[in-house]
Subunit: 214 residues, 2 copies
């Protein structure tokens, strides 16, 4: 499947948002993006359309587009859905996970290796969870979950946030992975649920804090 310049740009912008190059609320000027990626505004506009459809950016017609700032309600809802979908998927996936999947998960346990090849904490976290679900092929699920995660990608670009979240997140990943390796599906799913709840707590608190100062 050939790839389109436009789609590459959409991915690049998404990664830049994850990395915090374009922070939450930042306006995205078409002309600047065009210069940055060495194209005209047309493919940029199309990339922005894709991102808008995924909910990563907010478009104010005629006025401008901005990195979307999810509020605490939205974040809570996103995790409400993930808690419904992901444990089910994990339970189905675990019996079919192979050594290669466990290696991949192992390699992505630690979420804060920002310097490791320029991989953002968000991308690292994504890799870990992707590895857990590698046992089954559920493209529609995968796409929805990925989209939900992407919506809050901008929130992960915050060193201060990871300073407190890194250790517990690593421990939770470790526990989930160990349970998965041992084939304890029941335990792994309940650990995953708890992990998601913790993430929800941390992120809604972060968002609520920001909402206060406005």
């Amino acid at each position: 499947m050939k790839k389109l310049r436009t789609d590459e740009i959409a991915d690049a912008i998404k990664i830049d948002i994850e990395k915090g190059i374009y922070p939450i609320g930042e306006p995205l000027i078409q002309e600047s993006l065009a210069r940055r990626y060495g194209v005209s505004r047309i493919p940029i506009r199309e990339a922005l359309k894709t991102l808008a459809a995924e909910g990563v950016i907010d478009v104010h017609p005629g006025a401008g587009t901005f990195v979307s700032t999810p509020n605490s309600d939205e974040i809570a809802e996103i995790f409400e859905i993930r808690v419904q979908l992901e444990p089910h998927l994990l339970r189905l996936s675990i019996p079919r996970l192979g050594p290669r999947d466990f290696e991949a998960a192992e390699a992505a346990l630690e979420p804060t290796l920002k310097l490791n090849g320029g991989v953002s904490p968000f991308a690292q976290d994504q890799r870990f969870h992707d590895a857990l679900f590698a046992g089954i092929d559920r493209p529609v699920h995968a796409r929805i979950i990925r989209s939900l995660r992407t919506k809050i990608a901008g929130l992960y670009a915050d060193d201060l946030f990871w300073a407190t979240r890194s250790a517990p997140c690593l421990a939770e990943h470790r526990a989930i992975l160990d349970a998965a390796k041992a084939g304890k599906e029941r335990e792994a799913t309940s650990l995953l649920i708890r992990h998601l709840m913790h993430a929800r707590e941390a992120l809604t608190a972060k968002a609520a804090l920001r909402e206060q100062f406005r």
Copy 2:
């Protein structure tokens, strides 16, 4: 909130797909669409980007874009997700439904009033289910569910299909609505699940049939 020409076109194309004007597998030629909607190809391309992100169309870079043909696996997965999300939503919604919501649902019970103001069976069905969820405000859920339904919108544009599905579908809607009116959340949700399973059966069978002749 002002509306963009591009977004109006995206909606219009979606509706045309629901109505069967652009059947499943049909190529969507940018130039023709541009003439049809009286604009240049630029806003068309952007509308197509939106539809592609929603999974309504498949883009083959450089070659063309086509109305996507969901296979039976995808359809099964779509309903797998809906069965997880919608009952939960319905249970939360029922206690907060008002007379106006029931009227709206009542008006959309029958899915096949194609001549009624040009509303497609798909749109009618959508209205019914939207009315059921009117009690709560869960924008992220709403968006996902709408997106999942839209993915299979093209399958609804088939008179032969409705010839057999119309009566049972109406009866199921009736039963769900009655249970909702009576405040019987538990019964309503289990009826909804059964309704979804029946729809899944009908649609996967339809898709499997098409897959056979290829």
